[in-house]
Protein backbone atom coordinates (compact mmCIF):
# COMPACT_ATOMS: atom_id res chain seq x y z
CA UNK A 1 0.00 0.00 0.00
CA UNK A 2 2.79 2.37 0.98
CA UNK A 3 4.73 1.46 -2.18
CA UNK A 4 1.82 2.60 -4.35
CA UNK A 5 1.71 5.89 -2.49
CA UNK A 6 5.41 6.46 -3.13
CA UNK A 7 4.94 5.53 -6.79
CA UNK A 8 2.10 8.08 -6.96
CA UNK A 9 4.37 10.79 -5.55
CA UNK A 10 7.28 9.77 -7.79
CA UNK A 11 5.07 9.86 -10.89
CA UNK A 12 3.83 13.39 -10.20
CA UNK A 13 7.27 14.68 -9.24
CA UNK A 14 8.66 13.28 -12.50
CA UNK A 15 5.81 14.78 -14.55
CA UNK A 16 6.21 18.23 -12.99
CA UNK A 17 9.99 18.05 -13.40
CA UNK A 18 9.64 17.28 -17.12
CA UNK A 19 7.05 20.06 -17.42
CA UNK A 20 9.30 22.68 -15.82
CA UNK A 21 12.36 21.42 -17.70
CA UNK A 22 10.59 21.86 -21.04
CA UNK A 23 8.78 25.12 -20.16
CA UNK A 24 11.54 26.95 -18.33
CA UNK A 25 13.64 28.00 -21.32
CA UNK A 26 10.58 28.94 -23.44
CA UNK A 27 8.84 30.98 -20.77
CA UNK A 28 12.12 32.44 -19.52
CA UNK A 29 13.17 33.76 -22.92
CA UNK A 30 9.65 35.08 -23.59
CA UNK A 31 9.68 37.11 -20.40
CA UNK A 32 13.09 38.57 -21.22
CA UNK A 33 12.38 39.69 -24.81
CA UNK A 34 11.30 43.26 -25.73
CA UNK A 35 11.18 46.17 -23.34
CA UNK A 36 8.36 48.10 -21.73
CA UNK A 37 6.77 51.00 -23.57
CA UNK A 38 6.58 53.51 -25.04
CA UNK A 39 3.23 54.32 -23.42
CA UNK A 40 1.79 55.83 -26.60
CA UNK A 41 -1.91 55.97 -27.44
CA UNK A 42 -1.69 54.01 -30.70
CA UNK A 43 1.26 51.91 -29.77
CA UNK A 44 0.13 48.67 -31.41
CA UNK A 45 -1.04 50.23 -34.69
CA UNK A 46 2.12 52.33 -35.02
CA UNK A 47 4.45 49.45 -34.21
CA UNK A 48 2.89 47.15 -36.82
CA UNK A 49 2.69 49.79 -39.56
CA UNK A 50 6.26 50.83 -38.92
CA UNK A 51 7.55 47.26 -38.95
CA UNK A 52 5.60 46.17 -42.05
CA UNK A 53 5.54 49.30 -44.19
CA UNK A 54 8.11 51.68 -42.69
CA UNK A 55 5.45 54.33 -41.96
CA UNK A 56 6.14 56.16 -38.71
CA UNK A 57 3.11 57.28 -36.68
CA UNK A 58 0.88 55.49 -39.22
CA UNK A 59 -2.15 55.82 -36.97
CA UNK A 60 -2.08 59.59 -37.68
CA UNK A 61 -0.58 59.70 -41.17
CA UNK A 62 -2.86 57.18 -42.87
CA UNK A 63 -6.15 58.73 -41.67
CA UNK A 64 -4.78 62.17 -42.68
CA UNK A 65 -4.13 60.97 -46.22
CA UNK A 66 -7.48 59.19 -46.45
CA UNK A 67 -9.33 62.30 -45.25
CA UNK A 68 -8.09 64.10 -48.36
CA UNK A 69 -10.18 61.71 -50.46
CA UNK A 70 -13.28 63.53 -49.27
CA UNK A 71 -16.05 62.46 -46.92
CA UNK A 72 -17.98 60.28 -49.33
CA UNK A 73 -17.08 57.13 -51.18
CA UNK A 74 -15.75 53.81 -50.02
CA UNK A 75 -12.21 52.51 -50.02
CA UNK A 76 -11.33 49.39 -51.99
CA UNK A 77 -8.38 47.50 -50.51
CA UNK A 78 -6.58 44.87 -52.57
CA UNK A 79 -4.62 42.22 -50.67
CA UNK A 80 -2.81 39.05 -51.73
CA UNK A 81 -4.77 35.88 -51.08
CA UNK A 82 -3.09 33.54 -48.58
CA UNK A 83 -0.42 36.13 -47.83
CA UNK A 84 -0.69 36.86 -44.11
CA UNK A 85 1.38 40.05 -44.22
CA UNK A 86 -0.58 41.56 -47.11
CA UNK A 87 -3.93 40.65 -45.49
CA UNK A 88 -2.81 42.08 -42.17
CA UNK A 89 -1.76 45.39 -43.75
CA UNK A 90 -5.08 45.52 -45.62
CA UNK A 91 -6.98 45.00 -42.39
CA UNK A 92 -4.91 47.68 -40.67
CA UNK A 93 -5.80 50.13 -43.45
CA UNK A 94 -9.45 49.10 -43.04
CA UNK A 95 -9.13 49.62 -39.28
CA UNK A 96 -7.68 53.16 -39.41
CA UNK A 97 -10.00 54.31 -42.21
CA UNK A 98 -13.08 54.10 -39.95
CA UNK A 99 -15.84 55.31 -40.37
CA UNK A 100 -15.37 55.12 -44.13
CA UNK A 101 -16.91 52.05 -45.75
CA UNK A 102 -14.25 49.60 -46.95
CA UNK A 103 -14.18 46.62 -49.26
CA UNK A 104 -11.32 44.14 -48.90
CA UNK A 105 -10.66 42.14 -52.08
CA UNK A 106 -8.28 39.20 -52.08
CA UNK A 107 -6.43 38.64 -55.36
CA UNK A 108 -4.51 35.52 -56.32
CA UNK A 109 -1.60 37.11 -58.20
CA UNK A 110 0.96 39.84 -57.45
CA UNK A 111 -0.71 42.29 -59.87
CA UNK A 112 -4.29 43.54 -60.02
CA UNK A 113 -5.73 43.90 -63.50
CA UNK A 114 -9.18 42.56 -64.21
CA UNK A 115 -10.44 42.93 -60.61
CA UNK A 116 -10.00 46.69 -61.04
CA UNK A 117 -12.44 46.73 -63.95
CA UNK A 118 -15.26 45.57 -61.64
CA UNK A 119 -15.03 48.70 -59.47
CA UNK A 120 -17.77 51.29 -59.93
CA UNK A 121 -15.93 54.65 -59.83
CA UNK A 122 -18.98 56.61 -58.68
CA UNK A 123 -19.11 55.00 -55.26
CA UNK A 124 -15.39 54.57 -54.61
CA UNK A 125 -13.13 57.31 -53.24
CA UNK A 126 -9.85 55.46 -53.48
CA UNK A 127 -8.12 52.16 -54.10
CA UNK A 128 -5.40 50.83 -51.83
CA UNK A 129 -2.92 48.14 -52.88
CA UNK A 130 -1.32 46.25 -50.00
CA UNK A 131 1.73 44.26 -51.12
CA UNK A 132 0.00 44.08 -54.49
CA UNK A 133 1.17 45.86 -57.67
CA UNK A 134 -1.31 48.15 -59.41
CA UNK A 135 -1.51 47.83 -63.22
CA UNK A 136 1.15 49.85 -65.05
CA UNK A 137 -1.38 52.14 -66.71
CA UNK A 138 -2.78 53.35 -63.41
CA UNK A 139 -1.62 56.91 -62.73
CA UNK A 140 -1.62 59.20 -59.69
CA UNK A 141 -0.19 56.69 -57.30
CA UNK A 142 0.54 57.82 -53.77
CA UNK A 143 3.07 55.57 -52.10
CA UNK A 144 2.40 55.19 -48.37
CA UNK A 145 5.30 53.23 -47.01
CA UNK A 146 7.01 50.29 -48.62
CA UNK A 147 3.99 48.12 -49.36
CA UNK A 148 0.93 50.40 -49.48
CA UNK A 149 -0.06 52.31 -52.62
CA UNK A 150 -3.10 54.57 -52.67
CA UNK A 151 -4.81 55.65 -55.88
CA UNK A 152 -7.52 58.32 -55.48
CA UNK A 153 -10.33 57.25 -57.83
CA UNK A 154 -11.47 60.69 -58.92
CA UNK A 155 -8.08 61.23 -60.54
CA UNK A 156 -7.72 57.80 -62.13
CA UNK A 157 -9.96 58.20 -65.12
CA UNK A 158 -7.81 57.63 -68.24
Amino acid sequence: MRLRHYLHLALWCALFAVFIWLSGPIVGSATMENRVGPAETNRSIDTYLNALTGIEHGSEKLPDVLRRLGKNGSLVIFVRNENAESEFIGMMVGYVSWPREVQVIKVPGPTVEKELADIKPGSVAGVVFCSVNPPTWLQNRVRLGSSIILVPVTQTAP
Binding site: L11, F19, S23, I26, A39, N42, L75, F88
Partner: protein, 453 residues
Protein backbone atom coordinates in the same frame (compact mmCIF):
# COMPACT_ATOMS: atom_id res chain seq x y z
CA UNK B 1 -4.50 62.24 -15.96
CA UNK B 2 -4.59 59.12 -18.15
CA UNK B 3 -3.31 56.91 -15.33
CA UNK B 4 -5.78 58.51 -12.91
CA UNK B 5 -8.61 57.72 -15.33
CA UNK B 6 -7.28 54.19 -15.67
CA UNK B 7 -7.42 53.66 -11.91
CA UNK B 8 -10.92 55.14 -11.75
CA UNK B 9 -12.07 52.72 -14.45
CA UNK B 10 -10.52 49.72 -12.70
CA UNK B 11 -11.94 50.86 -9.35
CA UNK B 12 -15.48 51.12 -10.69
CA UNK B 13 -15.20 47.67 -12.32
CA UNK B 14 -14.00 46.13 -9.07
CA UNK B 15 -16.61 47.81 -6.83
CA UNK B 16 -19.43 46.77 -9.17
CA UNK B 17 -18.14 43.19 -9.21
CA UNK B 18 -17.56 43.35 -5.46
CA UNK B 19 -21.18 44.35 -4.91
CA UNK B 20 -22.44 41.41 -6.96
CA UNK B 21 -19.98 38.98 -5.35
CA UNK B 22 -20.73 40.03 -1.78
CA UNK B 23 -24.48 39.80 -2.46
CA UNK B 24 -23.95 36.13 -3.34
CA UNK B 25 -21.31 35.18 -0.77
CA UNK B 26 -22.54 37.13 2.28
CA UNK B 27 -25.07 34.41 3.19
CA UNK B 28 -22.28 32.29 4.68
CA UNK B 29 -21.28 34.85 7.29
CA UNK B 30 -17.61 34.78 6.22
CA UNK B 31 -16.31 36.14 2.93
CA UNK B 32 -12.95 34.91 1.74
CA UNK B 33 -11.14 38.07 0.63
CA UNK B 34 -9.09 36.37 -2.11
CA UNK B 35 -12.21 34.74 -3.52
CA UNK B 36 -14.07 38.04 -3.32
CA UNK B 37 -11.28 39.90 -5.13
CA UNK B 38 -11.02 37.33 -7.94
CA UNK B 39 -14.77 37.12 -8.52
CA UNK B 40 -15.10 40.90 -8.22
CA UNK B 41 -12.81 41.35 -11.21
CA UNK B 42 -14.53 38.67 -13.31
CA UNK B 43 -18.09 39.71 -12.51
CA UNK B 44 -17.18 43.40 -12.57
CA UNK B 45 -15.98 43.10 -16.17
CA UNK B 46 -19.16 41.24 -17.07
CA UNK B 47 -21.46 43.72 -15.35
CA UNK B 48 -19.77 46.86 -16.68
CA UNK B 49 -19.63 45.55 -20.26
CA UNK B 50 -23.30 44.54 -20.14
CA UNK B 51 -24.30 47.90 -18.63
CA UNK B 52 -22.34 49.78 -21.31
CA UNK B 53 -23.99 47.73 -24.04
CA UNK B 54 -27.53 48.13 -22.67
CA UNK B 55 -27.27 51.79 -21.62
CA UNK B 56 -25.37 52.62 -24.83
CA UNK B 57 -28.58 51.94 -26.73
CA UNK B 58 -30.22 54.94 -25.03
CA UNK B 59 -27.46 57.45 -24.33
CA UNK B 60 -23.85 58.21 -25.17
CA UNK B 61 -20.76 60.18 -24.14
CA UNK B 62 -20.43 61.59 -20.67
CA UNK B 63 -24.03 60.74 -19.78
CA UNK B 64 -23.43 57.06 -20.58
CA UNK B 65 -20.25 57.06 -18.50
CA UNK B 66 -22.01 58.77 -15.59
CA UNK B 67 -24.99 56.40 -15.63
CA UNK B 68 -22.83 53.27 -15.74
CA UNK B 69 -20.55 54.62 -12.99
CA UNK B 70 -23.62 55.39 -10.88
CA UNK B 71 -24.98 51.88 -11.41
CA UNK B 72 -21.59 50.46 -10.37
CA UNK B 73 -21.85 52.47 -7.17
CA UNK B 74 -25.41 51.24 -6.58
CA UNK B 75 -24.25 47.63 -6.96
CA UNK B 76 -21.40 48.25 -4.51
CA UNK B 77 -23.79 49.77 -1.95
CA UNK B 78 -26.24 46.88 -2.44
CA UNK B 79 -23.41 44.41 -1.77
CA UNK B 80 -22.31 46.31 1.31
CA UNK B 81 -25.88 46.35 2.65
CA UNK B 82 -26.21 42.61 2.00
CA UNK B 83 -23.00 42.06 3.97
CA UNK B 84 -24.30 44.11 6.88
CA UNK B 85 -27.70 42.44 6.77
CA UNK B 86 -26.07 38.98 6.87
CA UNK B 87 -23.61 40.20 9.49
CA UNK B 88 -20.83 38.75 7.35
CA UNK B 89 -17.14 39.34 8.00
CA UNK B 90 -14.21 39.42 5.60
CA UNK B 91 -11.74 36.61 6.15
CA UNK B 92 -8.13 36.80 4.94
CA UNK B 93 -6.87 33.24 4.26
CA UNK B 94 -3.33 33.24 5.67
CA UNK B 95 -0.89 30.49 4.64
CA UNK B 96 -0.54 28.07 7.55
CA UNK B 97 2.88 26.55 6.92
CA UNK B 98 6.26 27.68 5.59
CA UNK B 99 5.61 25.75 2.36
CA UNK B 100 2.35 27.60 1.86
CA UNK B 101 4.01 30.95 2.53
CA UNK B 102 6.71 30.20 -0.03
CA UNK B 103 4.22 29.01 -2.65
CA UNK B 104 1.94 32.03 -2.06
CA UNK B 105 4.97 34.30 -2.40
CA UNK B 106 5.92 32.70 -5.72
CA UNK B 107 2.35 33.15 -7.03
CA UNK B 108 2.49 36.85 -6.12
CA UNK B 109 5.85 37.25 -7.88
CA UNK B 110 4.55 35.47 -10.99
CA UNK B 111 1.56 37.81 -11.17
CA UNK B 112 3.88 40.83 -10.89
CA UNK B 113 6.14 39.44 -13.64
CA UNK B 114 3.20 38.88 -15.98
CA UNK B 115 1.93 42.43 -15.39
CA UNK B 116 5.39 43.66 -16.35
CA UNK B 117 5.70 41.34 -19.38
CA UNK B 118 2.25 42.34 -20.69
CA UNK B 119 3.43 45.92 -21.12
CA UNK B 120 6.41 44.76 -23.19
CA UNK B 121 4.26 43.47 -26.04
CA UNK B 122 1.87 45.04 -28.49
CA UNK B 123 -1.65 43.71 -28.95
CA UNK B 124 -1.63 40.65 -31.21
CA UNK B 125 -3.51 40.20 -34.52
CA UNK B 126 -6.84 39.22 -32.96
CA UNK B 127 -6.22 41.37 -29.90
CA UNK B 128 -6.03 44.43 -32.15
CA UNK B 129 -8.21 43.69 -35.19
CA UNK B 130 -11.04 41.77 -33.52
CA UNK B 131 -11.24 42.94 -29.92
CA UNK B 132 -9.62 46.36 -29.48
CA UNK B 133 -11.07 47.55 -32.79
CA UNK B 134 -14.60 47.25 -31.38
CA UNK B 135 -13.61 49.21 -28.27
CA UNK B 136 -12.08 51.99 -30.37
CA UNK B 137 -15.04 52.26 -32.75
CA UNK B 138 -17.42 52.40 -29.80
CA UNK B 139 -15.25 55.05 -28.11
CA UNK B 140 -15.16 57.18 -31.28
CA UNK B 141 -18.95 56.88 -31.47
CA UNK B 142 -19.58 58.04 -27.89
CA UNK B 143 -19.74 54.60 -26.28
CA UNK B 144 -21.83 52.46 -28.62
CA UNK B 145 -20.81 50.55 -31.73
CA UNK B 146 -22.77 51.96 -34.69
CA UNK B 147 -25.12 49.43 -36.29
CA UNK B 148 -23.42 50.10 -39.66
CA UNK B 149 -20.37 48.27 -38.30
CA UNK B 150 -22.27 45.00 -37.97
CA UNK B 151 -23.70 45.13 -41.49
CA UNK B 152 -20.45 46.20 -43.18
CA UNK B 153 -18.99 43.50 -45.42
CA UNK B 154 -15.62 45.27 -45.48
CA UNK B 155 -15.10 44.89 -41.75
CA UNK B 156 -16.28 41.28 -41.55
CA UNK B 157 -12.61 40.43 -40.92
CA UNK B 158 -13.07 41.79 -37.40
CA UNK B 159 -15.84 39.28 -36.60
CA UNK B 160 -18.67 41.67 -35.72
CA UNK B 161 -20.65 38.67 -34.45
CA UNK B 162 -18.29 38.19 -31.49
CA UNK B 163 -19.74 39.40 -28.18
CA UNK B 164 -18.59 42.47 -26.34
CA UNK B 165 -17.45 41.60 -22.81
CA UNK B 166 -13.75 42.29 -23.37
CA UNK B 167 -14.12 45.08 -25.99
CA UNK B 168 -16.51 46.95 -23.70
CA UNK B 169 -14.26 46.44 -20.68
CA UNK B 170 -11.56 48.07 -22.82
CA UNK B 171 -14.08 50.74 -23.81
CA UNK B 172 -14.73 51.50 -20.14
CA UNK B 173 -11.01 52.15 -19.66
CA UNK B 174 -10.97 54.34 -22.79
CA UNK B 175 -13.93 56.40 -21.57
CA UNK B 176 -12.18 57.09 -18.27
CA UNK B 177 -8.76 57.70 -19.82
CA UNK B 178 -10.31 60.02 -22.41
CA UNK B 179 -8.49 58.32 -25.29
CA UNK B 180 -8.19 54.84 -26.83
CA UNK B 181 -4.83 54.10 -25.28
CA UNK B 182 -3.47 50.80 -26.57
CA UNK B 183 -0.66 50.70 -24.02
CA UNK B 184 -2.55 51.04 -20.75
CA UNK B 185 -5.56 49.01 -21.88
CA UNK B 186 -3.43 45.87 -21.66
CA UNK B 187 -3.59 46.02 -17.87
CA UNK B 188 -6.87 44.08 -17.92
CA UNK B 189 -5.24 40.87 -19.18
CA UNK B 190 -2.74 40.29 -16.35
CA UNK B 191 -5.58 41.14 -13.96
CA UNK B 192 -7.51 38.26 -15.51
CA UNK B 193 -4.43 36.11 -14.98
CA UNK B 194 -4.24 37.16 -11.32
CA UNK B 195 -7.92 36.21 -10.88
CA UNK B 196 -7.20 32.87 -12.54
CA UNK B 197 -4.26 32.08 -10.25
CA UNK B 198 -6.27 33.04 -7.16
CA UNK B 199 -9.35 31.07 -8.15
CA UNK B 200 -7.34 28.03 -9.19
CA UNK B 201 -5.54 27.95 -5.84
CA UNK B 202 -8.81 28.41 -4.02
CA UNK B 203 -10.87 25.85 -5.97
CA UNK B 204 -8.18 23.15 -5.87
CA UNK B 205 -7.70 23.79 -2.14
CA UNK B 206 -11.42 23.52 -1.44
CA UNK B 207 -12.11 20.52 -3.63
CA UNK B 208 -9.02 18.60 -2.47
CA UNK B 209 -8.96 19.82 1.12
CA UNK B 210 -5.23 20.62 0.80
CA UNK B 211 -4.21 24.24 0.44
CA UNK B 212 -0.58 23.56 -0.50
CA UNK B 213 -1.72 21.62 -3.56
CA UNK B 214 -3.89 24.55 -4.65
CA UNK B 215 -0.95 26.91 -4.28
CA UNK B 216 1.40 24.51 -6.08
CA UNK B 217 -0.99 24.33 -9.05
CA UNK B 218 -1.21 28.15 -9.13
CA UNK B 219 2.60 28.29 -9.13
CA UNK B 220 2.81 25.91 -12.11
CA UNK B 221 0.09 27.70 -14.13
CA UNK B 222 2.27 30.34 -15.89
CA UNK B 223 4.75 27.70 -17.01
CA UNK B 224 2.34 26.69 -19.76
CA UNK B 225 4.03 28.55 -22.65
CA UNK B 226 0.68 29.41 -24.29
CA UNK B 227 -0.10 31.79 -21.43
CA UNK B 228 2.95 33.98 -21.74
CA UNK B 229 4.96 32.95 -24.78
CA UNK B 230 2.60 31.99 -27.61
CA UNK B 231 -0.11 33.57 -29.75
CA UNK B 232 -3.34 33.72 -27.77
CA UNK B 233 -1.83 34.28 -24.36
CA UNK B 234 -2.46 37.15 -22.02
CA UNK B 235 0.43 39.29 -23.27
CA UNK B 236 -1.19 39.86 -26.68
CA UNK B 237 -4.69 40.81 -25.52
CA UNK B 238 -6.71 37.86 -26.78
CA UNK B 239 -9.90 36.84 -25.00
CA UNK B 240 -9.14 33.13 -24.85
CA UNK B 241 -7.54 33.24 -21.40
CA UNK B 242 -10.41 35.32 -19.92
CA UNK B 243 -12.89 32.83 -21.40
CA UNK B 244 -10.89 29.97 -19.88
CA UNK B 245 -11.06 31.65 -16.46
CA UNK B 246 -14.84 32.03 -16.59
CA UNK B 247 -15.04 28.36 -17.56
CA UNK B 248 -12.79 27.40 -14.65
CA UNK B 249 -14.87 29.45 -12.22
CA UNK B 250 -18.21 28.09 -13.48
CA UNK B 251 -16.95 24.51 -13.41
CA UNK B 252 -15.28 24.84 -10.01
CA UNK B 253 -18.34 26.33 -8.34
CA UNK B 254 -20.59 23.72 -9.95
CA UNK B 255 -18.44 21.00 -8.39
CA UNK B 256 -18.43 22.82 -5.04
CA UNK B 257 -22.21 23.05 -5.17
CA UNK B 258 -22.41 19.32 -5.88
CA UNK B 259 -20.07 18.61 -2.96
CA UNK B 260 -21.70 20.90 -0.40
CA UNK B 261 -25.22 21.77 -1.69
CA UNK B 262 -24.43 25.35 -0.67
CA UNK B 263 -26.72 27.68 -2.63
CA UNK B 264 -24.01 30.40 -2.76
CA UNK B 265 -22.00 28.23 -5.10
CA UNK B 266 -24.82 27.67 -7.58
CA UNK B 267 -25.34 31.44 -7.69
CA UNK B 268 -21.66 32.00 -8.56
CA UNK B 269 -21.97 29.21 -11.15
CA UNK B 270 -25.02 30.96 -12.64
CA UNK B 271 -23.16 34.27 -12.89
CA UNK B 272 -19.91 32.87 -14.34
CA UNK B 273 -21.56 30.47 -16.79
CA UNK B 274 -23.92 33.23 -18.01
CA UNK B 275 -20.90 35.32 -18.97
CA UNK B 276 -19.28 32.55 -21.05
CA UNK B 277 -21.30 33.36 -24.22
CA UNK B 278 -20.72 37.06 -23.55
CA UNK B 279 -16.91 36.63 -23.75
CA UNK B 280 -16.63 34.74 -27.03
CA UNK B 281 -18.96 32.81 -29.34
CA UNK B 282 -17.20 29.55 -28.42
CA UNK B 283 -18.41 30.20 -24.88
CA UNK B 284 -21.74 28.72 -25.98
CA UNK B 285 -20.04 25.34 -26.48
CA UNK B 286 -18.49 25.55 -23.01
CA UNK B 287 -21.86 26.59 -21.58
CA UNK B 288 -23.53 23.56 -23.21
CA UNK B 289 -20.87 21.24 -21.75
CA UNK B 290 -21.50 22.68 -18.27
CA UNK B 291 -25.26 22.38 -18.71
CA UNK B 292 -24.97 18.69 -19.60
CA UNK B 293 -22.63 17.97 -16.69
CA UNK B 294 -24.78 20.05 -14.36
CA UNK B 295 -27.90 18.13 -15.27
CA UNK B 296 -26.18 14.82 -14.47
CA UNK B 297 -24.82 16.14 -11.16
CA UNK B 298 -28.07 17.81 -10.11
CA UNK B 299 -30.13 14.76 -11.11
CA UNK B 300 -28.17 12.56 -8.72
CA UNK B 301 -28.54 15.21 -6.00
CA UNK B 302 -32.26 15.63 -6.79
CA UNK B 303 -31.75 19.36 -7.22
CA UNK B 304 -32.78 19.71 -10.82
CA UNK B 305 -35.01 22.72 -10.18
CA UNK B 306 -32.29 24.75 -8.48
CA UNK B 307 -29.87 23.92 -11.29
CA UNK B 308 -32.40 24.69 -14.03
CA UNK B 309 -33.03 28.14 -12.54
CA UNK B 310 -29.28 28.80 -12.56
CA UNK B 311 -29.26 28.39 -16.35
CA UNK B 312 -31.71 31.23 -16.97
CA UNK B 313 -29.14 34.08 -16.99
CA UNK B 314 -26.99 32.25 -19.53
CA UNK B 315 -29.96 31.52 -21.75
CA UNK B 316 -30.99 35.16 -21.64
CA UNK B 317 -27.49 36.33 -22.64
CA UNK B 318 -27.35 33.87 -25.56
CA UNK B 319 -30.83 34.68 -26.88
CA UNK B 320 -30.60 38.46 -26.46
CA UNK B 321 -27.23 38.63 -28.22
CA UNK B 322 -28.49 36.50 -31.14
CA UNK B 323 -31.59 38.69 -31.36
CA UNK B 324 -29.43 41.82 -31.34
CA UNK B 325 -27.25 40.50 -34.18
CA UNK B 326 -30.39 39.96 -36.28
CA UNK B 327 -31.69 43.38 -35.32
CA UNK B 328 -28.51 45.12 -36.57
CA UNK B 329 -28.48 43.02 -39.78
CA UNK B 330 -25.17 41.28 -39.18
CA UNK B 331 -23.28 40.68 -42.42
CA UNK B 332 -23.70 36.94 -43.05
CA UNK B 333 -20.26 35.45 -42.77
CA UNK B 334 -19.13 32.29 -41.10
CA UNK B 335 -16.12 30.04 -41.03
CA UNK B 336 -18.43 27.07 -40.49
CA UNK B 337 -21.33 25.56 -42.44
CA UNK B 338 -24.57 24.75 -40.60
CA UNK B 339 -24.12 21.37 -38.86
CA UNK B 340 -26.48 19.31 -41.03
CA UNK B 341 -26.48 15.55 -41.56
CA UNK B 342 -25.58 15.94 -45.22
CA UNK B 343 -22.58 18.15 -44.35
CA UNK B 344 -21.53 15.61 -41.75
CA UNK B 345 -21.83 12.74 -44.27
CA UNK B 346 -19.84 14.63 -46.90
CA UNK B 347 -17.03 15.65 -44.56
CA UNK B 348 -16.77 12.69 -42.22
CA UNK B 349 -13.54 11.70 -43.98
CA UNK B 350 -11.86 14.73 -42.40
CA UNK B 351 -11.88 13.11 -38.97
CA UNK B 352 -8.60 11.28 -39.54
CA UNK B 353 -6.77 14.51 -40.38
CA UNK B 354 -8.54 16.45 -37.65
CA UNK B 355 -7.45 14.10 -34.89
CA UNK B 356 -3.96 13.98 -36.39
CA UNK B 357 -3.71 17.77 -36.16
CA UNK B 358 -5.19 17.72 -32.66
CA UNK B 359 -2.63 15.19 -31.47
CA UNK B 360 0.20 17.17 -33.10
CA UNK B 361 -0.96 20.33 -31.32
CA UNK B 362 -1.40 18.63 -27.94
CA UNK B 363 2.16 17.37 -28.14
CA UNK B 364 3.61 20.70 -29.34
CA UNK B 365 6.01 21.45 -26.50
CA UNK B 366 6.65 25.04 -27.61
CA UNK B 367 2.96 25.78 -26.92
CA UNK B 368 2.16 23.41 -24.06
CA UNK B 369 5.34 21.86 -22.71
CA UNK B 370 4.18 18.58 -21.10
CA UNK B 371 0.88 20.05 -19.92
CA UNK B 372 -1.42 17.76 -21.94
CA UNK B 373 0.58 14.68 -20.96
CA UNK B 374 0.08 15.57 -17.30
CA UNK B 375 -3.59 16.32 -17.96
CA UNK B 376 -4.03 12.92 -19.62
CA UNK B 377 -2.55 11.23 -16.54
CA UNK B 378 -4.87 13.32 -14.34
CA UNK B 379 -7.91 12.34 -16.41
CA UNK B 380 -7.02 8.65 -15.99
CA UNK B 381 -6.74 9.19 -12.22
CA UNK B 382 -10.11 10.94 -12.07
CA UNK B 383 -11.90 8.31 -14.15
CA UNK B 384 -10.37 5.55 -12.04
CA UNK B 385 -11.59 7.21 -8.83
CA UNK B 386 -15.19 6.24 -9.82
CA UNK B 387 -16.53 9.34 -8.09
CA UNK B 388 -19.16 11.23 -10.01
CA UNK B 389 -17.79 14.74 -9.47
CA UNK B 390 -14.30 13.65 -10.51
CA UNK B 391 -15.60 11.92 -13.63
CA UNK B 392 -17.57 15.10 -14.37
CA UNK B 393 -14.37 17.12 -14.05
CA UNK B 394 -12.54 14.76 -16.43
CA UNK B 395 -15.45 15.12 -18.88
CA UNK B 396 -15.29 18.91 -18.57
CA UNK B 397 -11.69 18.75 -19.77
CA UNK B 398 -12.07 16.12 -22.50
CA UNK B 399 -15.54 17.16 -23.75
CA UNK B 400 -14.70 20.65 -25.07
CA UNK B 401 -11.47 19.38 -26.68
CA UNK B 402 -13.46 16.77 -28.64
CA UNK B 403 -16.27 19.17 -29.52
CA UNK B 404 -13.84 21.86 -30.64
CA UNK B 405 -12.11 19.32 -32.88
CA UNK B 406 -15.33 18.02 -34.36
CA UNK B 407 -16.53 21.46 -35.46
CA UNK B 408 -13.82 21.47 -38.14
CA UNK B 409 -15.87 18.82 -39.92
CA UNK B 410 -18.07 21.78 -40.86
CA UNK B 411 -15.25 24.21 -41.71
CA UNK B 412 -15.91 26.21 -44.89
CA UNK B 413 -12.26 27.13 -45.43
CA UNK B 414 -10.71 25.82 -48.64
CA UNK B 415 -8.19 24.08 -46.39
CA UNK B 416 -9.87 22.88 -43.21
CA UNK B 417 -6.50 21.71 -41.91
CA UNK B 418 -5.11 25.27 -42.24
CA UNK B 419 -8.23 26.53 -40.47
CA UNK B 420 -7.71 24.09 -37.63
CA UNK B 421 -3.98 24.66 -37.31
CA UNK B 422 -4.50 28.42 -37.11
CA UNK B 423 -7.19 28.35 -34.44
CA UNK B 424 -7.02 25.15 -32.39
CA UNK B 425 -4.09 26.28 -30.19
CA UNK B 426 -6.25 29.13 -28.93
CA UNK B 427 -9.31 26.92 -28.47
CA UNK B 428 -7.32 24.50 -26.33
CA UNK B 429 -6.47 27.41 -24.03
CA UNK B 430 -10.14 27.49 -23.00
CA UNK B 431 -9.84 24.24 -21.06
CA UNK B 432 -6.28 24.72 -19.80
CA UNK B 433 -7.17 26.07 -16.31
CA UNK B 434 -9.83 23.35 -15.98
CA UNK B 435 -7.04 20.90 -16.85
CA UNK B 436 -5.01 22.28 -13.93
CA UNK B 437 -8.03 21.79 -11.68
CA UNK B 438 -8.12 18.15 -12.81
CA UNK B 439 -4.38 17.82 -12.15
CA UNK B 440 -4.79 19.28 -8.65
CA UNK B 441 -7.52 16.83 -7.75
CA UNK B 442 -5.67 13.87 -9.23
CA UNK B 443 -2.55 14.83 -7.30
CA UNK B 444 -4.48 15.02 -4.06
CA UNK B 445 -6.15 11.62 -4.30
CA UNK B 446 -6.04 9.75 -1.01
CA UNK B 447 -4.03 6.58 -0.48
CA UNK B 448 -7.23 4.56 -0.58
CA UNK B 449 -8.20 6.09 -3.92
CA UNK B 450 -4.78 5.32 -5.38
CA UNK B 451 -5.41 1.63 -4.64
CA UNK B 452 -8.17 1.63 -7.25
CA UNK B 453 -5.75 2.56 -10.04
Amino acid sequence: MIVLGLFAALFTIVIAGCGVTISMLALAGRINLVECACLSWLLGCGVVSLLLWICGAFCSGLLLQAIVALLCLVLAIAGWRAKRYANAKFDVPRPATTTEWILAGIVAIEVAVLVFVSFKHTLGWDGLLIWELKARYAFLNGGAIPSSYYSSSGRAFSHPEYPLAIPFTELWLYLWMGEPNQFWVKIIFPLFYAACAGLLALLVSRLSGKRWIGLLIAVLLPFVPSISASPGGIVVGYVDVPLAIFYLAALGYLLLWFQTSDSRFIMVFAACSALLPWIKSEGIILWVVLVLLGFVLSFTKRRLTQFSVSLVPGLIVILVWQFYLRFVHLWPQSDFAPPTWSALRNNIGRLHDIFGILFAELSETSHWSAFWLITAVAVIYLLASRKLERIALASAVVGPVLLYSLIYVFSTWSSYSAHMMSSVPRLLLHVMPAGWLAIGLALSQSKREIQTL
